[in-house]
Amino acid sequence: MPAFAFRAMASSCEVRLDGLDAHQAAQLAQLAIAEVRRIEQKYSRYRSDSVVARINAQAGAEAVECDAETLSLLDYAHALHQASGGLFDITSGVLRRAWDFGAGRLPDARRLDELRRLVGWERVERLGAHVRLPQVDMEIDFGGFGKEYAADRAAALLAAQGARHGYVNLGGDLRIIGPRADGRAWTIGIQDPRRPDRLAAGIDIGSGALATSGDYERFMEVDGKRYCHILDPKSGMPVSHWQSVSVLGPLAVAAGSCSTIAMLLQEDAIAYLDQAGVAYLAIDCTGQMYRRDL
């Protein structure tokens, strides 16, 4: 069965298509990969020519005019901020400047305090198609859902081009196009958060999406305590309750947002996920597993 591996968004990615001959599959996969790369180029905060970099460069200065796609993503960011009581905040990336996971040192409290004052989606100004960050050094980034958005876009594109069986996997966030050509579901393993060579669980899915957030993407240990890259925008401190949260949903972007919000909610995550009505698998800091099937 044709599978196309590529690297994008700093992750290992794969497009897998079943039920097509290899030539058709290769052509379709190229479309999907091009779509992922388009989104990466347009929104990467590492590229000075990206939309996000342009908005950030004008922080404290001019409003930047945005196109319809960017405005839709900003609308989505707004909805996430509302739905999470402010926990999911696309302006919180500045906190990373205080956390140097390579150095293995806790940040200076005063520096963290300064940076926390730069966080606040509610302060971002929107007028029509114009967006402005009100303070110098403020920044936004779509890192919290860009990969999932790209997986959804690429999968929808493949489906619209006639693909029926396959999935798009961008660094562990998957959107299924459809089950295998013979109707069987795909079996997807869930990464063991503490043992990179092991799987913690597996799930069979034939449609929808699966996304996982974890504390093992980037982290450091100081005095035996783990500090991961998922930061509470209010305290500026890493979350510590969950090793990983995987969520199933109809769209990768929604599943990914729910898993990130669950990480940020810490001990309140299970109540949130249960009430959300999604299937999930969460592994807490002691390694205990919580799950809900649908």
């Binding site: 839709s72 989505y76 739905a83 929808a156 996997n169 013979d182 997807i188 069979d204 957030s213």
Partner: protein, 375 residues
């Protein structure tokens, strides 16, 4: 920390996500002939210790790739070994490992001529544990009467692997592949197609992140695909048969025989019985992890001392799929269909030899009811 109130949190997130452009399945370019279907799928799978039932209603929007069922087949990429057992995993969901230094780029260009096309593609990507470069050219050419289409392609790739676990350092892998195919209108009632692909690769083929995975440093792969569509004048039906052979120097040999027959009946009814048989010989160095994923491989009994892999795609097994579809056209625009398929897979069903004993038998039934509107 604060306790946010989120009475409709997740629903609000999904509703907001659905407003994002292009994330839900939809036809983005209005096609000449499109169709929309509502399907209800009932899927039952059984395997010792693992039963699964799925009821899935689905809405599909279908956009045919091209008018006419045939397209030129070929491949630019190495053909993967199909035949996974759901006891093992085909992909891993996890938080990705982020790296701050990275470069990637692809370039592809296709030039279309009156009866020919040429496509050139190049790809490059690099990261701290991986560098990959690939280059490929494909072309197609049709005869003046359009009864014959030839296609051909060549490609190559060059990868460098430096896994973070330092199992190996500075490993590389190179491959070249060639493809040739012909599609021929044989008679007004017959179309045949033949495609051959060969790939030669050498270098590091093992999975550095898998325990006990040591594969040969050289791999040759061959694929032959033959298809024949025939229209039966007297019955008004169409048969489609296909055969695919796959072989590689790891010792995997696979045959796929497929056939279906579409018989239109009176009053807009049609029936389509179908059957597919798949059989695969295991790679010489495949070992069965069995029920215990920690089982230590017995490299000696695997028949190729020094080499070993538990990858299920390299196992030996056979599978049979039988299906029947009944459809009724209601007027020019509406189609109702009911499809029943049964799939069975066994290690012992391998044809022409023994399969892998450690694979759990699997069977699955699919019942699908669909309503399609065409326009």
């Amino acid at each position: 920390m604060t306790h946010p109130k989120h009475p409709t949190g997740a629903q609000a997130i999904l509703a907001a996500a659905l407003l994002l452009p292009g994330v839900a399945v939809q036809a983005e370019n209005a096609p000449e002939h499109a169709s929309m279907s509502v399907r209800y799928l009932d899927y039952r799978q059984s395997q010792p210790g693992l039963d699964l039932k799925v009821h899935a209603p689905a809405l599909e929007v279908e956009v045919p790739l091209a008018a006419g069922a045939w397209s030129v087949a070929g491949t630019l990429t190495a053909d993967d070994v199909s035949g996974a057992s759901p006891r093992y995993h085909t992909a891993v969901s996890g938080a990705s490992h982020m790296h701050d230094e990275r470069k990637a780029g692809t370039l592809a260009a296709t030039r279309y001529f009156e009866r020919a096309s040429v496509s050139v593609s190049a790809a490059y990507s690099t990261e701290h544990d991986y560098i990959s470069r690939a280059l490929g050219v494909t072309g197609s050419l049709s005869s003046p009467d359009n009864n014959t289409t030839w296609s051909f392609g060549v490609g190559g790739s060059d990868d460098r692997i430096d896994p973070v676990n330092h199992i190996v350092v500075g490993e590389t892998r190179q491959s070249v592949n060639v493809m040739a195919g012909i599609t021929q209108v044989l008679t007004p009632r017959d179309i045949g197609q033949l495609t051959l692909t060969a790939t030669h690769g050498h270098g590091y083929f093992s999975d550095p992140y898998k325990l006990f995975d040591t594969r040969p440093r050289e791999r040759n792969q061959y694929t032959l695909l033959a298809r024949w569509n025939h229209h039966h004048e007297a019955l008004g039906g169409t048969s489609r048969v296909s055969y695919r052979y796959y072989g590689d120097s790891f010792g995997v040999r696979a045959h796929t025989f497929g056939g279906e027959y579409v018989q239109p009946l009176a009053s807009g009814w049609s029936v389509t019985p179908s059957a597919r048989i798949y059989t695969q010989r295991a790679a010489r160095f495949y070992f069965d992890p069995g029920a215990d994923p920690d089982a230590f491989p017995d490299a000696v009994s695997s028949g190729a001392p020094g080499y070993a892999s538990p990858d299920q795609r390299l196992s030996g097994f056979g599978a049979v799929t039988l299906g029947l579809k009944v459809a009724r056209q209601l007027g020019p625009d509406w189609l109702v269909d009911l499809k029943v398929e049964h799939y069975r897979q066994r290690g012992s069903w391998r044809l022409f030899g023994d399969g892998s004993p450690g694979l759990a038998p699997l069977s699955a039934s699919i019942v699908q009811l669909g309503l399609t509107r065409q326009w």
